[in-house]
């Protein structure tokens, strides 16, 4: 027996365990997505690709898809910009730096459902602090235009600290002598940032993007607690739609189809990022 076989034998238990907890559920959801399955009435008929064909022409699905893409694009880019700014500031030396870093992390430490409830009160038309400060009477969560943006603001508030801390770690890894050399050569702050900080931070930025995009694309708790998907489904994301179909009406067939599509989207996004990452690492 060569060492390769021996290695395989050691890996085998892990492979079996992983298959049980990931491959089996995925296959089971895949098979359910090919059925018309209504748990309440014990209905389970194989319908082939009917669910997928329906999904392609399902307005509610495309509405949820667009909402999710909008939420993801806007919140991830805002979080990246703000997070980078905060990380750059925290990377300088100043008094109370430790305390500041800890304070910045507070929103990230609050459970999502709790912060969503908190924001729900701040957005309240009659008693909310937001309208009080602005002197306005905007129905933030009741208006089709504001509701999704209100959810984005909450997510940015909550997740920017996470981005900032990861980027701060990346900044710390950049060797200081590069900066010293640049300064001796007479480089200005902007060109130092553009030519040294940004390129060397890029791998961390990509990792942050992978994490955040995947999280934002599957967003459920923040928006569900804040708006429940309303008004008129303008804040219904793919996960909320799947939840409603799966657990509120127990339509396991079509619900599984939705879950599979979310899975495929997230998979495609992460493949794309990985390709960019490896392409950068190779040369």
């Amino acid at each position: 027996m060569n060492s390769r076989d021996q290695g395989n034998r050691f890996v085998l238990p892990a492979v079996i365990a992983l298959s049980l907890v990931t491959v089996y559920p995925v296959l089971s959801v895949l098979s359910m997505s090919l059925h018309r399955k209504l748990l309440l009435f014990d209905i389970s008929e194989f319908t082939g690709l009917d669910n997928y064909r329906f999904l392609l022409s399902d307005d509610r699905f495309w509405n949820a898809f667009n909402n999710t893409v909008y939420f993801t694009a806007l919140s991830v880019s805002l979080e990246l910009l703000l997070g980078l700014g905060i990380a750059l500031l925290l990377n300088r030396t100043f008094r109370f730096k430790g305390a500041m870093t800890a304070l910045v992390l507070v929103p990230w430490a609050i459970p999502t459902a709790v912060s969503a409830r908190m924001w729900e009160w701040m957005y309240n038309t009659d008693f909310g602090i937001l309208n009080h400060l602005l002197g306005l009477k905007i129905n933030w969560l009741g208006s089709p235009f504001w509701a999704m943006n209100a959810a984005v603001v909450m997510d940015v508030w909550k997740t920017t600290p996470f981005v900032a801390i990861l980027l701060l770690a990346g900044l710390k890894m950049i060797p200081q002598d590069l900066y010293q050399a640049a300064r001796i050569d007479g480089a200005g702050a902007w060109s130092i940032f553009r030519r040294i900080t940004l390129p060397l931070l890029m791998p961390v930025v990509l990792v942050v993007l992978i994490f955040r995009t995947m999280d934002a694309f599957r967003v459920f708790d923040a928006v569900y607690v804040l708006t429940g998907g309303g008004p008129a489904n303008t804040t219904e994301t793919l996960s909320i739609y799947a939840y409603k179909v799966l657990f509120q009406t127990l339509q396991f067939g079509y619900g599984s189809t939705l879950a599979i599509v979310v899975f495929l989207c997230v998979g495609a996004i992460s493949l794309l990022y990985l390709r960019v990452l490896t392409a950068r690492a190779e040369p």
Binding site: F41, D58, T234
Partner: protein, 427 residues
């Protein structure tokens, strides 16, 4: 260190297991070796003591049977979820179930209810209003007995109509004209308010507009949502807000109580609501006491008024261990005598037609008996086991049409497609 961790874990494990032990079904026998049945219901309006008195009467009339009544959470969605979870798990922890009118076909189709048609004598189903009877009948079986009834009505301000020499509107266009004229001269008065938030109440409201325009949701079990009549009705609802200006935009987030408060503080001329609001308006200190009238909802030309049917029905859990005793309780609570008692004590509107000619009721609850004609014509929401899935589709689509995000035609076409898919008619 290690030992203490083990102890902590074992204590925790014991604590976690306790509720499981407590949840074990324990055969409940009372000292006289009789049976105990459990009756689950929503909050009883008014004084719960009155209801207990009725149950005591049942226990006296049926020696050996003890009734334990347990109240469920106030929200009907939570009640529905409670039943679905427990009945899907074949729970026999309760015997008599009280059900919203839209649940019965679903529960019956899922096989959770006993057929109770033998509880009614020959022809006795004709003693009840036809709407609720249709909602509890499936494939010739009767799966619940109507307990009390509800229906949408139009509230109006008698004093204001009199001041401007207007009569109670019969058609929707009369309502619009009257509301425009009076709100044009009265400051701070809304014309017509109703319930337009994305929830079950919106479907009830929208169906009244749709039916009163000759529209339908299902025809012989097939969805017929995308019809011009339905679109016209939905467009009219939106026009009430944007074109005629008689309905304030706040209705698109309003449920029953906010509209009842507005009307009750004298800020609206017309309101669509359920009959429960009447007693509150007629209380001492109410701003509109003595000035409120109730009429059937208006209709579109060439059609007739339509009220959405509400109300509760009693059925027997298929997994009950004492079905005979449970059936006795259902029979007792839906009997003319009990319905009369509940009508007089807590204001539950009887489902038996004859009670509306009962001299005591006519004297003590004249408002209730005046609703006879409306209850007689009240229509159940589509009677199908799939109703709860359908309403999940209808609510956001109707809401989108009201908010102007979609045209009525687009909202109905989308709803039509989704309902077809739910009913298994292909993509």
């Amino acid at each position: 260190m290690f030992i203490s961790a083990v102890r902590v874990i074992s204590v925790l494990a014991t604590l976690c297991a306790l509720p499981l032990l407590a949840g074990c079904p324990v055969e409940q026998k009372n000292p006289r070796d009789g049976t105990t049945i459990v009756f689950k219901h929503g909050k009883i309006a008014g004084d719960p003591g009155q209801f207990r008195k009725l149950l005591d009467r049942f226990e006296r009339e049926n020696p050996g049977i003890t009734v334990k009544d347990e109240t469920l959470p106030a929200s009907t969605d939570e009640q529905h979820q409670y039943y679905v979870i427990n009945l899907e798990g074949k729970s026999g922890d309760f015997d008599v179930i009280s059900m919203d009118v839209i649940w019965v076909p679903e529960f019956a189709r899922a096989g959770w209810l006993l057929d109770v048609s033998h509880l009614l004598g020959p022809g006795e189903e004709n003693a009840f209003f036809p709407g609720p009877m249709r909602a509890v009948t499936m494939n010739d079986g009767i799966y619940a007995i109507p307990w009390y009834i509800d229906a949408g009505v139009l509230y109006y301000r008698k004093d204001l109509l009199k001041k401007y020499g207007r009569s109670v509107p019969e058609t929707w266009s009369e309502l619009v004209i009257t509301a425009q004229e009076i709100t044009g001269q009265e400051r701070g008065l809304y014309g017509f308010i109703w319930q337009g938030k994305q929830y079950e109440g919106l479907v009830c409201n929208a169906l009244e507009f749709i039916w009163s325009n000759g529209g339908e949701v299902l025809d012989k079990g097939k969805p017929v949502l995308d019809s011009p009549r339905n679109a016209e009705a939905l467009r009219f609802m939106r026009d009430l807000i944007v074109k005629y200006g008689v309905t304030p935009p706040l209705v698109t987030t309003a449920i029953e109580e906010p509209t009842r408060h507005l009307f009750g503080s004298g800020k609206a001329l017309f309101m669509r609501n359920w009959p429960y609001a009447w007693n509150i308006f007629e209380k001492q200190g109410s701003a509109v006491k003595g000035n409120v009238g109730v009429a059937p909802l208006p209709f579109f030309p060439g059609n007739r008024t339509a009220s959405t049917l509400g109300g509760w029905q009693l059925g027997v859990n298929r997994f009950s261990r004492q079905p005979e005793a449970a059936e006795k309780l259902v029979r007792f609570l839906t009997s003319p005598a009990s319905q009369k008692t509940l009508a007089l004590s807590v204001g539950y509107k009887p489902t038996r037609k004859a009670l509306y000619k009962d001299p005591d009721l006519m004297r003590q609850q004249p408002f209730m008996t005046s609703l006879y004609g409306i209850f007689l014509r009240a229509r159940p929401r589509p009677v199908t086991p799939y109703y709860l899935m359908m309403t999940q589709v209808l609510q956001p689509e109707f809401s989108a049409a009201l908010a102007g995000i979609k045209s009525p035609e687009a909202a109905l076409a989308s709803a039509q497609k989704q309902v077809r898919h739910i009913l298994g008619e292909g993509p």
